[in-house]
């Protein structure tokens, strides 16, 4: 088993943290091998950023993805930039408020991650909502392992907010499956 996941958005949204949490869940809180890499422009904020995670039950040689099993997009620019190698089998998850032009003639999962985060009081946790949605939709990792990874990776004073973001994202992901 080898799965390749790409999370993209604009710089500052936390796509790298999201990838870090998923990779850590797989390799520290579960027994998979995982590698996370990233690419981003020289800007600290803005621009298209992406974080890529490979999860495998075998040792991972080449550490960059060769395909994309799951694409999570959190901005229009990154969705337009980083989807050229998707296939019919790629699972796509978008926030339709951030990726307005998502109609690419195929079904995809829609999760209003930023709206959920805003309702929780801080849109900074949009990435964690997406981590939850990813966990719910792309049934690879144990939800408890990902939750532990979230708790282990965010500042302690924000633990509660992030757990809520994760759990609501997970539910939103499950609902997105029904709505597909």
């Amino acid at each position: 088993m080898k799965k390749e996941i790409r999370i993209c958005g604009f710089g500052g949204q936390g796509v790298i943290l999201a990838g870090f949490i998923i990779g850590k869940a797989a390799s520290v809180f579960m027994d998979y091998h995982a590698v996370q890499s990233q690419s981003y422009g020289p800007e600290a904020r803005g621009g298209a950023a992406r974080s890529e995670i490979i999860i495998s039950d075998e040792k991972i040689g080449y550490p960059r993805p060769l395909g994309v099993d799951c694409l999570v997009a959190m901005s229009q620019e990154s969705f337009d930039t980083y989807r050229d190698d998707i296939t019919d089998d790629t699972i796509i998850i978008v926030d339709p408020d951030l990726v307005k032009n998502h109609n690419i003639g195929r079904p995809l999962y829609k999760v209003h991650a930023q709206q959920i985060a805003e309702k929780l009081g801080n849109k900074i946790v949009t990435n964690i909502v997406m981590v939850g949605a990813f966990t719910g939709i792309f049934s690879l990792l144990k939800p408890e392992a990902v939750k532990e990874s979230v708790i282990d990776s965010v500042p302690k004073r924000f633990t509660e907010l992030n757990i809520k973001a994760y759990e609501q994202g997970f539910e939103a992901g499950k609902n997105a499956i029904k709505e597909l």
Binding site: G23, V28, S37, G61, Y62, P63, R64
Partner: protein, 394 residues
């Protein structure tokens, strides 16, 4: 006050035994575990996270972090700290490594242990700051003027960033020579699982201190403590062993002796032979599927990963291909290459440069087999298929 390596304090600062960690940070962990108590550096992409990690963690264990004005100052500070008794390290990338070259030679000439982590990026000059390369492999061997022996390790995984930084300190302390961890922007910016080794599984080597009668002590000759050892005992500043330290050619007492050929030859031969005489011990390679191989990839660092993937594809397509991975690149594992070249028909050397380590490979293959360079530049590592195609002779 002298720094005392405190395993408990170090482990408290490092945190959990199993972590999902950035390659650059793993170098910081390795340094701390090795007993490093002094980091001086100047931030540069893609090595900045090493400095950032050291700035955050070193004060927690009573170690020192200094941000210097530039890389020349950084390595100068390492040398001073080392003479004050510290294990010292810095981290940089291409442009900073170039600036360090003069004092790198000074560290060799003064037999000063210190560790340089070079998270290589593309060059020449400013190049592609955020992207990885392996373009400084010859620079760490030949970049400073004069005759030196280099000690350089090339990690392929995040775990090896940690392990090889410890190893670099051990080699540096043992041989009293600077040692380089030649990682790159690819491995430095990867995150993977690491396991922090248990204290009882660690081998930590410290320089041999000067202990004999101060009047009988001679600072730049064979050890006065260990028989037949070309590495002098270390007279830490402040311990009462008056020692003159200079980059000029010096006599055994350390004083400049710049006008006679035998003085220079004696000094530089001892400095280089302390490493070359141990060449048979200084071999760190990994062999994969070489037993029946008639084609071999000779590889190191980040590139070893797509090379291993290419080997797997090759094996499925009935190519008898194996991998010889150089963990310690300098000193160069000459005998391993001689042996391999007599066994296989073809050696392919993929590197993220236009061909550097392929040259010593070709030299030691000595015409016994074909040696092919498989270069790639531009800030991307080879795709496995790009290495595989060399098996097909394309």
């Amino acid at each position: 006050m002298k720094y005392q390596r405190d395993p408990k304090r170090i482990r408290d600062a490092l945190g959990k035994k199993v972590q999902f960690l950035l390659g650059d940070m793993a170098c910081v962990y390795g340094g701390m575990l090795a007993g490093c108590s002094f980091f001086a550096g100047y931030p540069i992409t893609p090595a900045s996270e090493v400095a950032e990690g050291a700035a955050r963690l070193f004060p927690r264990i009573g170690a020192t972090y200094i941000q210097m004005e530039d890389e020349i100052g950084s390595i100068a500070a390492l040398i001073g700290a080392a003479w004050g008794g510290a294990k010292s390290m810095t981290a940089t990338s291409g442009p900073g490594f170039s600036l360090m070259m003069e004092n790198y030679g000074y560290a060799v000439m003064t037999e000063t242990p210190c560790v340089i982590v070079n998270v290589q990026r593309t060059g020449p000059s400013t190049g592609q700051p955020t992207l990885g390369a392996q373009g400084d492999m010859m620079q760490c061997r030949w970049g400073t003027h004069g005759d030196i022996e280099a000690l350089a390790l090339a990690p392929s995984t995040v775990q090896e960033c940690l392990d090889f930084t410890i190893e670099a300190f051990n080699l540096s302390e043992k041989y009293r020579n600077p040692a380089c961890v030649m990682t790159d922007g690819e491995v430095g910016h990867l995150r993977e699982r690491i396991i922090i080794p248990e204290e009882q599984d660690l081998e930590i080597i410290d320089r041999v201190p000067a202990i004999i009668d101060k009047k009988k002590f001679i600072p730049f000759m064979n050890s006065q403590t260990i028989k037949n050892c070309k590495i002098p005992d270390f007279p830490t500043f402040g311990t009462g062993y008056h020692t003159y330290v200079t980059g000029l050619t010096h006599n055994e007492k350390g004083f400049p002796a710049t006008d006679k050929q035998p003085d220079h030859e004696r000094l530089v031969k001892r400095i280089t032979e302390k490493i070359t005489n141990d060449a048979s011990k200084l071999v760190m390679v990994e062999k994969l599927n070489l037993d029946d191989a008639d084609i071999a990839f000779v590889t190191y660092g980040a590139t070893a990963r797509p090379a291993e993937s290419a080997m797997e594809i090759g094996r499925k397509n009935r190519y008898k291909v194996g991998v010889l991975r150089l963990k310690l690149v300098w000193p160069f594992p000459e005998k391993e290459i001689v042996k391999l070249a007599k066994q296989v028909d073809k050696i392919i050397v993929p590197e993220m440069n236009l061909g550097q380590i392929v040259h010593p490979v070709r030299e030691y293959a000595g015409g016994n087999c074909e040696v092919i360079s498989a270069p790639k530049i531009g800030g991307e590592m080879h795709h496995p298929a790009e290495i595989y195609k060399y098996l097909e002779g394309k």
